[in-house]
């Protein structure tokens, strides 16, 4: 009893039918994109956002 183990049954969940392997450049694309996300936001944007009237004043 104590040693009861699940055996034999098919593993639940589909085994990974892996999607086509990402080409080598895929991480480069992501990095290109992320490098922009990580750039500090230029002041022009802060100024513009500050000007939008949200009733704070």
């Amino acid at each position: 009893m104590a040693g009861k183990r699940k055996t034999g049954g098919p593993v639940k969940g589909k085994k990974h039918i892996s999607k086509p392997r990402d080409p080598d450049w895929a991480s480069g694309l992501k990095q290109l994109y992320d490098s922009v996300i990580e750039e500090p936001i230029p002041d022009t944007f802060k100024d513009l956002l500050a000007k939008l009237d949200d009733g704070t004043k």
């Binding site: 080409p23 480069g28 290109l32 490098s35 990580e38 944007f45």
Partner: protein
């Protein structure tokens, strides 16, 4: 600007502040998306500014709790398509800013130049480029990307597939055109497709 399906209740000052906070948070994402769409950083930033103003003006159509990133991306891509058709981004590519080298992650033999990557990306027809950016870089699901672009999921899948195949061919075979975005032939092709996108499926509905 559009016929709205339903009018959400007027926004309180609290709502507006919350909206502005969320809008502020997506600015880096908008910049990344815009930079990927149009080559030049300064023009990309102009596009983001335009997007912020439009989003602010349309804030009553944003449903709190839904994705601000997806909602603003719709605005940005529509603004981009409009600007493209008005000629603003034609033939523009900033070589200097793209001359940074992308260091390849460990395990990869050859570094991919950021400029190569970007140039290759810019040669794709706009609707494939945006599909690839959304799914391959922005981390959107096919379903979300389809909503942003106002087209069917299958269409997005096929656009991403074609974009991937084209980039793989270009990059792995070392056939990245020098400045194909300035190549008149490429342009005619791109603009033709662009007209189709903008005319038909380009009319995405912001959120739902």
């Amino acid at each position: 600007m559009s016929k709205e399906e339903r009018v959400l209740p007027a926004r309180t000052a609290d709502d507006k502040r919350a909206f502005k906070r969320e809008l502020t948070d997506v600015v880096p994402h908008l910049r990344a998306f815009a930079r990927g769409l149009c080559g030049r950083p300064d023009m990309a930033d102009d596009l983001v500014q335009e997007t912020l103003l439009k989003a602010w003006a349309a804030q009553e159509r944003f449903e709190p709790g839904t994705s601000m990133r997806a909602w603003t991306f719709v605005i940005l891509r529509n603004a981009y398509l409009t600007d493209m058709r008005r000629n603003r981004f034609r033939g523009e590519y900033d070589e200097v800013a793209a001359e940074r080298i992308l260091v390849a992650p460990a395990g990869q033999e050859q570094p991919i130049h950021l400029s190569d990557m970007h140039r290759a990306l810019l040669t794709l027809p706009p609707e494939r480029r945006e599909a690839l950016l959304l799914v391959g870089a922005g981390g959107f699901s096919y379903e979300e990307a389809a909503q942003i672009c106002g087209c069917a999921v299958g269409t997005i899948k096929s656009r991403v597939g074609r974009a991937r195949a084209a980039l793989t061919a270009m990059i792995e075979e070392g056939q990245i055109p020098d400045r194909s975005i300035g190549d008149p032939n490429a342009h005619v092709a791109i603009l033709k497709e662009l007209d189709e996108v903008a005319a038909g499926r380009g009319l995405a509905v912001p959120t739902k």
